[in-house]
């Protein structure tokens, strides 16, 4: 048997979490160091599988591991990665390592619990991206909820308890409905294997049940993405969570929902998905509302962190729009079908780039909040000359967020709109308005209110620029933004081979 590389990625964080419990009292620096060191293992392995998957084309599942788990019910421990999940695993590993590293300098209370929970969360996230069995997928989907709930509730801001329970209740409500849909798929196809179920097409002869099951999945995923009108947990959770928690929430957890749409909802129910993106275009309407409404709310925010949180609603709407376009193209002729990979590549690319960019933005908010103890945009002004390094880093990240060519955010939005414009042009046109508003809140709200204008010497005279560890947290992200901004071909080709294969099976 080959080296079980995916299992190692999956369970190394659990081992790390248990090791953290064994470290003697009073050695909190050991806990920090150990956790960061342990998290490097999945990071390295994630890069290994990324290159491995690239070599093999990325269109099929690689590194598959299988073992029966509950054989009576045909439940398997089944892992695998393809061109869609490999970059997301790497994203998870990178943001986790950076978060653990950043937290080493910012989390001062209940350190042991923090690192224990964070690594448990990391395992849950890996599990979702790696699982190829519905029950396993669901188990990991839920495992992540509990540590995140506690991370928000213990180390969060003023209204942390409210935000924590709201997060938990919303996501649980979505996932239990998804569980019923999973069971429905099982009784229709006789398997919990995600790929096999997609091949067998559940409820192919029973439209009402197919619709019911589809919406069961969609609700679970849409709450997680989150798509309007299920987004109201997000601003509270993201704003109240500790910095690293917000990074993981925005950077990875939202992608779980989008990943579910691509991996499960689209392949299992292409006809239903098509119906609700083209005949009755509910889903693209929700996507476009998320994009425009999210951006407009950002324009009205005075809390920097809340602004970034709402920007996620807007940017994740782009992902949903791209997936919708791919679904809407089905069965409408070869020409439109040729545009579908553009939309889907854009959507998957947007998942990755939004993770990197918004993760960075939340670190940036954390960095200023640690010093200023406020996130009120009206309190700042003119900081550009006082903290130039911070200004520079923020500018790159913010411009990546608004989709400036040369940075990675550009490519994902470009491809989504390139695909969508051919397939469902009306929504592409309306959605494009969001891009304008995004430029508006980034330039006007963030850049102008924080860095430009009059400088309040009395209040901010003692403000210090970024420390080395803050720079060390940000630089890998900046490198990815610029790297894939200038040369996106490797990641795009990987996504392309996987999405083309996925669309080819529909």
């Amino acid at each position: 048997m080959d080296f079980p590389i995916l299992s190692v990625i999956l369970f190394v964080p659990l081992v790390g979490a248990i090791l953290v419990l064994l470290i003697p009292r009073g050695k909190e620096n050991w806990i920090r160091g150990l956790s960061v060191a342990v998290s490097l293992i999945p990071l390295v392995l994630a890069l290994v599988i990324w290159f491995g998957v690239t070599d093999l084309g990325g269109s099929e599942m690689q590194y598959v591991e299988e073992a029966p788990w509950i054989s009576t019910f045909n439940v398997w421990y089944r892992l695998g990665v393809d061109g869609i999940s490999a970059p997301l695993v790497a994203l998870t590993a990178l943001l986790s390592t950076l978060s653990l590293f950043y937290s080493a300098y910012t989390i001062k209370v209940r350190v042991r619990e923090y690192y224990f929970l964070f690594q448990l969360l990391q395992m849950g996230m890996f599990g979702v991206f790696l699982s190829l069995d519905f029950i396993l997928f669901y188990v990991f989907w839920e495992i992540g909820l509990v540590p995140m709930f506690l991370l928000i509730g213990i180390w969060g801001g003023e209204r942390r308890q409210y935000a924590a329970i709201k997060f938990f209740l919303y996501t649980l409500a979505g996932s239990v409905v998804m569980l019923l849909a999973i069971l429905g798929v099982y009784f229709s196809t006789g398997t919990f294997d995600i790929l096999e179920a997609a091949r067998l097409q559940p409820f192919a002869d029973n439209w009402p049940l197919a619709v019911l099951a589809f919406w069961g999945f969609f609700l679970g995923f849409a709450i997680k993405v989150p798509s309007f009108p299920f987004h109201t947990w997000l601003p509270d959770a993201h704003t109240e969570a500790p910095t690293a928690g917000s990074v993981i929430l925005a950077g990875v957890l939202l992608k779980l929902g989008a990943y579910g749409l691509i991996r499960i909802a689209l392949p299992l129910f292409p006809d239903v998905f098509h119906f609700y993106t083209f005949n009755v275009p509910v889903i693209p309407i929700l996507a476009v509302i998320s994009m425009v409404y999210g951006a407009l709310v950002c324009m009205a925010q005075w809390d920097l962190k809340r602004l970034i949180a709402y920007s996620s609603v807007s940017h994740m709407g782009v992902v949903t729009l791209g997936i919708s376009a791919a679904a809407a193209s089905l069965g409408r002729g070869q020409e439109l079908l040729n545009s579908a990979p553009f939309a889907l590549n854009g959507a998957t690319m947007q998942m990755f780039t939004h993770g990197i960019i918004t993760g960075g933005l939340f670190f940036i908010v954390g960095i200023i909040y640690e010093r200023a103890h406020t996130r009120d945009l009206q309190a700042f002004g003119g900081l550009g000359s006082k903290v130039p390094y911070y200004y520079g880093i923020t500018l790159v990240t913010a411009f990546a967020s608004l989709g400036l060519p040369g940075l990675c955010g550009f490519w994902s939005e470009f491809f989504v709109f390139r695909g969508t414009l051919r397939i469902i042009p009306l929504f592409a046109v309306i959605g494009a308005a969001a891009i304008v508003f995004t430029a508006g809140y980034i330039l006007w709200k963030i850049v102008q209110y924080v860095f430009l204008g009059a400088f309040d010497e009395a209040r901010w005279g003692k403000l210090t620029d970024m420390t080395w560890w803050e720079k060390a947290t940000m630089w890998p992200l900046i490198a990815v933004m610029v790297g894939f901004g200038i040369y996106p071909a490797p990641i795009l080709e990987l996504f392309n081979s996987a999405t083309t294969a996925l669309l080819g099976k529909l």
Binding site: T72, F73, Y138, V139, A164, L169, L172, V176, L180, L183
Partner: protein, 484 residues
């Protein structure tokens, strides 16, 4: 009596002898040796367990067919022994300073455990009734065991009054069945009912079903026969509350499943509809009222009412065309009860530990539990996650089995109401977790748990997680035991 009959009854006989032995030793032994009585009881349980295991896989009827040994009955013997054993572990030291009596608690508990094993094995209405009464009467006494405590007294009286009414109704229903069929044997009742000679008397059978449900519903604390539960749970000594919530409930389900499936399969349309309605109101009301509780024992009372509602879904999903199947509702019921046993006893073990340290059962006194004893807080978190049904816990798998049975039969409404209730329940469990994890303690002194409590907690915790992570043997067990 032949040797084989004695062997078949051996678990019950061992329990009976152990109960009598504890009673006798309590009289003979001086004060200084009475501390050993619970260990004698545990020894008796170990003997029962050994006898149960020795009988494993057998299927026979005894004593003129009033009593059987079959996988279903043996499963509940296992449940009874495990529940009683864990309850004894949590009760060690609990009564110090609360009451002067020591031995009676353990002997009565063994008799209650005996009653559960009899309930699961009874196949004759008279035997069913006697077994239920044995459980009820021992329970009334155990509820009022803290004689100096007014709440304990009040609880016992309430329990007795409600219980007497419920068992009268049930007996009345049994008399209907006897009147219509001329037999008290469950299998013969079924045969008489399916012979087609019933004529215009089917309404009598339907009334009998309703009356029987009153009795069974009382034992499993299903709405509207649940009113006793909150007061009794609050007033009874906490280890016995734990026993009631797990052992008594499991026994109620055992009888309900046995009687409905063996005697009344031809009337399944009627009782399935009734049980479905009961299930919906039980889980919804239990969960909604639990939100407003300030006392953790009352909250767990309503939570256990809601749990009964979920388990009833499994009974609704009994599929006569495929009685023994992978996704049959009954195997779901059994697995759920097994998972619930460890989960709920574990939760009560935490309650007992906190009660012994702080003297309080108010939820607000759980503030800062994480700081005062992290193990208790983490254990409570796992148990509550299991009660909500979040993986990787036994409660999750139990719910999965129950809901999959519902989805298979396309009872979508029932499944959806069930999962929504799961989400609602998160809210009140969160109320306690919020205190335990998020709020600072009112009092910084650490909470210590006695060794026996720690053992009980460890068993409950390991099993709550283990039953889900290494699920296969437990699911097999539930499947084979579900064959009636």
């Amino acid at each position: 009596m032949t040797v084989s009959q004695i062997l078949g009854l051996s678990p019950q006989l061992v329990l009976l002898l152990a109960g009598l032995l504890v009673l006798a030793l309590d009289l003979i032994w001086g004060e200084e040796r009475k501390g050993w009585l619970p260990y004698v009881a545990l020894l008796g349980l170990a003997g029962t367990l050994a006898a149960t295991v020795a009988l494993w896989g057998r299927e026979e009827a005894f004593s003129e067919g009033v009593f059987v040994v079959d996988p279903f009955a043996l499963f509940f013997q296992l449940v009874a022994v495990l529940a009683t054993g864990l309850v004894i572990l949590t009760s060690l030291g609990y009564f110090e300073g609360r009451t002067a009596y020591k031995g009676e608690f353990y002997s009565l508990l063994l008799f209650a455990s005996l009653a559960i094993t009899l309930m699961a094995a009874a196949v004759d209405l008279v035997m069913v009734y006697i077994a239920i009464e044995l459980l009820s009467i021992t329970s009334y006494v155990l509820t009022g065991f803290l004689r100096q405590d007014r709440k304990s007294n009040e609880a016992a009286i309430k329990y007795f009054l409600y219980g007497a009414a419920a068992s009268a109704a049930m007996l009345y229903g049994m008399s209907f069945l006897y009147g219509v069929t001329g037999s008290t044997d469950l299998a013969q009742i079924a045969a008489a009912l399916s012979s087609g000679e019933l004529g215009s008397l089917s309404w009598v059978v339907v009334s009998a079903v309703v009356l029987l449900l009153a009795g069974f519903g009382f034992k499993v604390s299903a709405v509207p026969f649940h009113q006793w539960a909150p007061d009794v749970y609050e007033g009874a000594p906490t280890p016995f509350t734990a026993f009631l919530s797990v052992g008594s409930k499991a026994a109620g389900f055992a009888v309900m499943v046995r009687v409905f499936l063996t005697a009344l399969p031809d009337f399944s349309v009627d009782w399935v509809a009734l049980v479905a309605a009961l299930s919906i109101v039980t889980m919804t009301l239990g969960n909604l009222v639990a939100i407003f509780q300030k006392n953790i024992k009352r909250m767990l009372a309503y939570s256990s009412i809601a749990q009964a509602g979920y388990i009833l879904i499994g009974l609704v999903c009994w599929d006569p065309s495929q009685p023994v199947g992978e996704f049959g509702g009954i195997s779901g019921v059994l697995f759920y009860l097994l998972a619930y046993l460890f989960t709920n006893l574990g939760a009560f073990a935490v309650v007992i530990a906190v009660e012994r340290a702080t003297g309080s059962n108010e939820i607000s006194d759980y503030a800062g539990l994480m700081r005062r004893n992290p193990w208790l807080a983490v254990a409570l978190l796992v148990f509550f996650l299991s009660l909500v049904g979040i993986p990787p816990t036994g409660g999750f798998l139990g719910k999965l089995l129950i809901f999959s049975a519902a989805i298979r039969l396309q009872y979508f409404a029932l499944a959806i109401i069930g999962v929504i209730n799961g989400v609602i329940s998160l809210y009140y469990y969160f109320g306690v977790l919020q205190q335990a994890f998020f709020l600072p303690p009112k009092d910084e002194t650490p909470i210590a748990a006695s060794l026996s409590l720690r053992v009980a907690l460890a068993v409950a915790l390991v099993m709550t997680l283990g039953i889900a992570i290494f699920a296969q043997p437990f699911i097999r067990l539930a499947l084979t035991s579900a064959a009636l």
